[in-house]
């Protein structure tokens, strides 16, 4: 009994919980900035720069403005952080899954919205009109990527389940181990591309960072945040990078399993780095920020079509 509780606590606090997620999230954010700089032929900040940013923000004053609702303003970033950590506990690291069999695609889909909602509620609670515009854009972004995301999830579920209902993430990973990784099945390649395009919008990197456009609406929902809550929000962005790429790995590249948890974790981190560079840094480096209506159009036409193609192909059993 005691051992079980200790093991669970280890899962929650160290691996794959708080500490691991935070460390890898910050690492990914650092790599993103470094590689972006190299792509622009700059030296770039050190890889630990996000850690510096985080600690610096912890040491700043936290100002709560007059117009803000104090409770919601301070609670929002913490709720976002906690839900991201909990989400990571449900995403299997190849064959290892902290709470096996309990992870469900729809649950993951909904847990993914909580950090966004936390950002929105926090921004809304700050009482700034800039934040009002920001949360409006954040919500439209959410509506934009949710449609392709559910199509992607359904096509993966259909592929793994065949003629049975399969919403369990660990079953999907197990299926990939028995067959090949999802990405190796040609029908799912459009879905994988769609998912890669969903990741930057979910994380909120350029060109999909309309909600936090610092040059036009002063960082949107984050405008009134300073100090520790801002540090939490910046950390949440970094965590989202890791959680989303790890979800991609679980859904599409789940077939590589070495049997050793530590090695698996290492492979996962490497794959996440590759994916981060591929779908966030690269796109960031070559594009400028979209307008919100263009973002919505892009997701509901182009990305949705890609995902639908996959769903139909899988459905036809080709």
């Amino acid at each position: 009994m005691g051992i079980t509780i200790l093991r669970l606590l280890f899962y929650v606090l160290i691996f794959p919980g708080c500490l691991f997620v935070t460390a890898i999230g910050l690492l990914l954010a650092g790599i993103d900035r470094k590689v972006l700089a190299r792509m622009q032929r700059r030296v770039g900040p050190p890889i630990v720069q996000p850690v510096y940013d985080f600690f610096k923000l912890l040491g700043k004053e936290t100002i709560i403005p007059h117009a803000a609702n104090k409770t919601a303003f301070l609670a929002a970033p913490v709720v976002g952080f906690v839900s991201l950590v909990v989400l990571m506990l449900f995403i299997p690291v190849f064959s290892f899954s902290a709470f096996s069999g309990r992870a469900d695609l729809i649950v993951v889909l909904y847990l993914l919205t909580i950090p966004g909602v936390a950002l929105i509620v926090g921004g809304s609670a700050s009482g700034s009109p800039y934040a009002g515009i920001g949360i409006s854009r954040e919500m439209v972004t959410m509506m934009a990527y949710e449609l392709p995301l559910i199509l992607v999830l359904l096509s993966v579920a259909k592929m793994a389940g065949g003629s049975a209902l399969c919403f369990s993430l660990s079953d999907i990973v197990a299926w990939q181990e028995a067959h090949h990784s999802m990405i190796a099945h040609w029908q799912l390649i459009p879905a994988a591309v769609a998912m890669l395009l969903v990741i930057p919008a979910e994380v909120g990197t350029q060109p999909f960072d309309v909600a936090e456009a610092e040059t036009e609406i002063c960082e949107g929902p984050l405008i009134e945040y300073s100090g520790a809550p801002l540090a939490m929000f910046k950390l949440n962005t970094a965590l989202k990078m890791f959680v989303m790429t790890a979800l991609f790995v679980a859904l599409f590249i789940g077939g590589i399993d070495t049997g050793i948890v530590a090695l698996n974790a290492l492979i996962l981190v490497l794959l996440c780095i590759v994916l981060t560079v591929l779908c966030m840094t690269l796109i960031h480096a070559v594009t400028a920020r979209l307008k919100i209506e263009h973002l919505f159009q892009f997701y509901w036409t182009f990305v949705t079509t890609l995902a639908t193609v996959s769903l139909v192909l899988v459905w036809l059993g080709l």
Partner: protein, 639 residues
């Protein structure tokens, strides 16, 4: 001690008697008025709750013949009440809603006159819906629908000094009467065919014996009940009526009145005609449900009145219920009933919040509200719980039921190989996100942001209005976290009752009747869902929260200070950042949100706005066309 078999009738009669007493004693005497109101709804609540153990847990189905007119030689001649688990499930929703609504109305209605008359109608509405869920006689059902509709119309028009209340009541009157007439015509045709009005006997005679006339009657009755459930294209009076009625009545509309329609549809399709195992029937209802949820939510996004927005969400959520019920699977019906129950809870809660805002500010226009979270903190918390529930965020109850609905629809898609259901799954998820969007809009426009001058005097509402809100909030959380218990105690009996037609017939008409007519039950697979464990999730959430909290608290001395504004408003450091300008009262109101989305959808919204013209003739035409489609579909495909 009287036996519990009398309880259902006593509950219904008690409420109607209360209505009568209100008229005699309550017109001038406030204490008598309020006492009678709470006593009758409270007694009904207790009586129905007392039935939970025998009916829900022990699986007994109560049959009760009025005046002991038992069937003679196999023909039911008296009016019979039959309380099975499905009916009791809806009856529980009805009594809960009416009790909470009556408590809320005590202070909420204090500024209105004519309260004696108001409460007569109020109790008539409660009694009618309660009777509707408990009755076993199809003509009695029609009578209850009529009482319900006319009480509802009169209550809609209650605040008739505002012109649009009368207009809304007129729309409701016309369309409601059309719905009732369709139902009555259907019942008349059935009576011609079968010479009986008892639902159990009808079920035994109609099964496997559908003539063109009875199919036509089915179409008419389905249309009539769909009008009562406000399914698109019959939804048009709902938006006006919900917005115009006093809020405690709007809450009852969404909590009971449209549930009555849903109950009627389920009873009709599952039990009386037992057409649910026909794929054509499933497809018809599923399409209607999907269209309802989509049109409901998109129309809600375009609204800028708090209550009207909630009204369109009611329509949209009923779409979920109908779609899930249409699947004809155990999981589907469980999801449908669960969502119907949750809708009663969270939509009631949201309406009460809207009512509180109306009570303390005097308007529900989203463009004129703002910053109420500081003035009304408890209402804000309740509203957020309701909003998160309806948007389906874990661990609130909306998530558990929506997740069951998605699973059921997608399982149906995989099982039947019908791609349509996969598309409906996608629609359902997207509608859920749009629901979230429109509640974010309300949150921003009403509760957060800056406080306009018109809201400066707002105060938290009195205790008797907060109690129902807190009760509903608590129920939203409890049913979300302990959904396994809800499923085992309430949903499973109700669902198996809907599928167990033989028992329904046998209890009413005597053992062996069903077998004599050659009726056997549809074998429905047991529902299976195990991947969502809210308690585990909550536990993890608490552990991680505690860990984060410890880090924050131990680090607090070393970190920067948290500064909260104290004293003068002019303090520059705590002013909202306005690019250096002195901060002005400027608030992003409801209509200004989601610009990009509205821009991309403008042609769709133009069409929808044109369609919701507000002209009663158009709406009546919609009802006729919708009825024609249903009837045609049934005559062609359902035999």
């Amino acid at each position: 001690m009287i036996s519990y078999v009398h309880f259902p009738v006593l509950a219904v009669m008690g409420i109607f008697l209360g209505a009568f007493l209100e008229e005699i004693f309550g017109v001038h005497n406030k204490a008598a008025r309020q006492g009678i109101l709470v006593a009758t709804t409270g007694i009904a609540f207790l009586l129905i709750c007392a039935l939970v153990k025998p009916v829900m847990f022990d699986g007994e189905v109560i049959s009760y013949w009025m005046g002991d007119h038992v069937p003679v030689s196999g023909y039911a001649i008296g009016i019979g009440y039959e309380i099975d688990q499905l009916g009791l499930f809806f009856a529980l929703l009805v009594v809960t809603t009416s009790l909470l609504s009556s408590i809320f109305s005590l202070r909420y209605m204090e500024r209105d006159g004519m309260l004696g008359r108001f409460y007569v109608l109020f109790l008539m509405l409660c009694g009618a819906v309660l009777g509707l869920t408990l009755t076993g006689d199809i003509f009695n059902l029609f009578i209850m629908i009529e009482i319900m509709t006319f009480a509802a119309v009169a209550l809609t028009a209650f605040r008739g000094e505002r012109g649009f209340a009368l207009e809304a009541a007129f729309k409701y009157l016309v369309l409601g009467s059309m719905g009732s007439s369709f139902t009555l015509a259907g019942i008349a045709l059935l009576y011609l065919q079968c010479h009986t009005l008892n639902m159990a006997q009808l079920a035994s005679m109609l099964h496997g014996n559908m003539t063109p006339v009875s199919v036509f009657a089915f179409g008419l009755m389905l249309t009539g009940l769909s009008v009562k459930a406000f399914i698109v294209p019959f939804h048009t009076p709902a938006a006006d009526a919900y917005a115009a009625a006093p809020t405690c009545i709007s809450m009852m509309f969404s909590g009971m009145v449209n549930k009555a329609g849903v109950y009627g549809v389920i009873r009709l399709v599952y039990v009386i005609f037992r057409a649910i195992d026909l794929p054509a029937m499933q497809v018809l209802l599923a399409i209607f449900g999907a269209v309802t949820m989509f049109i409901g939510v998109t129309m809600a996004l375009a609204q800028h009145d708090f209550k009207r927005l909630l009204a369109f969400h009611s329509i949209s959520q009923i779409g979920y219920v109908i779609t899930a019920a249409a699947l004809g699977t155990t999981l589907g019906l469980s999801g449908a009933l669960f969502h119907a129950m949750n809708h009663t809870l969270f939509k009631g809660l949201l309406f009460l919040c809207a009512g509180s805002v109306l009570y303390s500010v005097g308007t529900t226009d989203l463009d004129r509200l703002g910053g109420l979270s500081k003035k009304m903190p408890q209402t804000t918390i309740c509203f957020l719980i309701g909003a998160f529930s309806i948007s389906g965020l874990p661990p609130f109850n909306g998530f558990a039921s929506k997740w069951m609905v998605y699973q059921a629809i997608y399982a149906k898609a995989v099982e039947s190989g019908n791609f349509l259901y996969a598309l409906i799954t996608v629609v359902a998820v997207v509608v859920s996100v749009m629901t979230l969007a429109s509640f974010i809009k309300v949150t921003q426009a009403v509760f957060f942001g800056q406080c306009p001058v018109s809201c400066a005097g707002a105060k938290e509402v009195p205790l008797s209005m907060r109690i129902p809100m807190w009760v509903m909030s608590a129920l939203c959380v409890i049913t979300g976290v302990f959904y396994n218990q809800v499923e085992a105690w309430f949903l499973r009996p109700a669902v198996s009752a809907a599928f167990n037609v033989t028992h329904y017939i046998d209890v009413m008409m005597g053992e062996g009747t069903a077998a004599a007519f050659g009726i056997s039950n549809v074998k429905a697979a047991a529902a299976s869902f195990s991947y969502w464990d809210p308690i585990l999730w909550l536990l993890l959430f608490v552990v991680v929260m505690a860990a984060t909290g410890i880090v924050i608290i131990t680090g607090a001395r070393e970190r920067g200070r948290i500064l909260t504004p104290e004293g003068a408003e002019e303090d520059g450091k705590y002013a909202t950042f306005f690019s250096g300008e002195k901060s002005l009262p400027s608030h992003v109101s409801g209509s200004d949100l989601f610009w990009g989305f509205k821009h991309d959808w403008k042609s769709y919204f133009r069409v929808m706005q044109g369609a919701h013209s507000g002209i009663i003739n158009d709406y009546a035409l919609w009802v006729v066309v919708g009825g024609a489609i249903i009837t045609l579909w049934l005559t062609v495909f359902v035999r």
